[in-house]
Each structure stands twice: as structure tokens, then as C-alpha cells.
């Protein structure tokens, strides 16, 4: 198993590190316009921070902080933000993903509206990637059998 008994050094360091990792991830998402980075990279880093939480605190605690249903909801919401912004452009009589039409809503010039549209899209990507990375790791590390259902699985363990 990936999850071990709690170790005080590891868990303390993780507790100190996780907020900074998340802060950095947010910076990467938000600063994607001016420097390398963007929704995908930032999302992966956010997902990594959640994976770190899962690894150091074990599943029981991670389950309270990040419930399983919330992970799926978040991944849906991420793609929905992206597709929703695109769809909003259709409602504003533009083509799909034509962010310049958002200028009407945001009261800025079209180029600026596109810039903000890109930001919104990146946030959506970030959400989706974060949730999905965590979800894939959860599935693969537990073999899909989540702890509340877990029983000694000796048959398949080498």
C-alpha cells in the first residue's frame, strides 16, 4: 500500500509545505499571461499538493478534507467553466469561444475581454486538472477500493 502509518516529521513538513505549494500553483495559474505557466501546470501542482496531503495524512483524514464526491464535482465544474464561457459567447451572438463578445458584459475593449476570457478558461482547466489528477491517483493507489469498503485483500497482493 502507498499509505503508511503517520510519521510526525513527514506530516509536519507536509503541513508547512502544502499551503506554499498551493499558493505557488495559484500564482502559476494567474500569471500565465506573463510568464510560463497556465491552467494546466497550475492545476497539476494543485493536484500534487492534494496528493501530498493524501500520502502524508492517510486516507481517513484526506476523506474529510476532500470528499470523493467533491472531487468528481470539481472536475465537472472545471470543464463546465471552460465550455460555459464558450457557450456564453454563443448566447452573446458570437461564435463558440469568441471571447471578444464578452466585452459587453465586462465593459472593456475586445482585446482586454479576450485576455480575461483566457484567464477564466485557465481557471477552468486548473480546476479540472487538479480534480482529475487527484482522482486518478486515488483510484490507482487504492486499486479503486476506497478505505471505507476496504478489507484485507491478500489474494492479489504479491
Amino acid at each position: 500500500m502507498v499509505f503508511r502509518k503517520e510519521d510526525i516529521i513527514v506530516s509536519t513538513i507536509a503541513r508547512i509545505l502544502i499551503p506554499f505549494i498551493q499558493l505557488y500553483a495559484l500564482y502559476v495559474i494567474m500569471h500565465g499571461h506573463y510568464s510560463p505557466g497556465g491552467g494546466f501546470q497550475g492545476g497539476v501542482i494543485l493536484g500534487a499538493s492534494m496528493v501530498l496531503l493524501l500520502l502524508t495524512r492517510g486516507h481517513d483524514e484526506a476523506k474529510y478534507k476532500i470528499p470523493e464526491n467533491m472531487v468528481i464535482t470539481l472536475s465537472s465544474i472545471g470543464v463546465l467553466i471552460y465550455a460555459g464561457i464558450g457557450f456564453l459567447c454563443i448566447l452573446l451572438l458570437g461564435n463558440f469561444l469568441d471571447y471578444s463578445k464578452l466585452a459587453v458584459l465586462l465593459h472593456v475593449d475586445p482585446a482586454h475581454a479576450r485576455s480575461l476570457g483566457i484567464l477564466g478558461v485557465e481557471i477552468g482547466v486548473g480546476f479540472a486538472v487538479m480534480a482529475v489528477m487527484y482522482s486518478i491517483f486515488l483510484d490507482i493507489s487504492t486499486g479503486g477500493v476506497l478505505p471505507e469498503d476496504e478489507e484485507p485483500e491478500e489474494g492479489t497482493e504479491a
Binding site: G38, Q41, V44, F137
Partner: protein, 81 residues
């Protein structure tokens, strides 16, 4: 392009790739794959593809390796080739 640096990186990448598919222990293979990804990411940074390098560093060398390790721990590290 700095030619010596380039050649050293390419050499490392090829060595890592060969090692990853020949080593007889899956856990080692997966970790060597992580190193391979990291050298690859250096190569891309050196070619000016910083965004791609950043993504590769966080995705393949980070999450990808972790996923592989989790899968190998969940199954077995024994291999015949």
C-alpha cells in the same frame, strides 16, 4: 544552442531510455523513466520551449512518476525482461 550541453543531454536521455526498458525491476524502471522525463524537460527548456518544459516537469516527471509508482506498488515489481 550550446552544442556540448546539448550533446550531453541527448546522451543522457538515450541512456535513460535504454536503461528504463532493460532494467529488470519495475520500480527502478519507473524511477529511471522519471529521470528520463526530467532530462527531456531540460532539453526542451534549452530549446526555448519553457511552457512545454514546465508542463513536462510537473506532469511526466511529477504526477506521471507518482502514478507509475503507485501502480507498481499496487501490483508487483517483478518482471522477466
Amino acid at each position: 544552442m550550446i552544442l556540448p550541453f546539448d550533446i550531453i543531454l541527448q546522451l543522457f536521455v538515450i541512456i535513460c531510455a535504454v536503461a528504463a526498458i532493460t532494467v529488470k525491476d519495475l520500480m527502478s524502471a519507473v524511477i529511471i523513466l522519471g529521470a528520463y522525463s526530467f532530462f527531456m524537460c531540460l532539453m526542451w527548456a534549452q530549446m526555448g520551449a519553457v511552457d512545454v518544459a514546465f508542463t513536462e516537469a510537473s506532469v511526466s516527471a511529477g504526477i506521471g512518476t507518482i502514478l507509475c509508482i503507485a501502480a507498481v506498488m499496487k501490483t508487483t515489481r517483478r518482471t522477466k525482461d
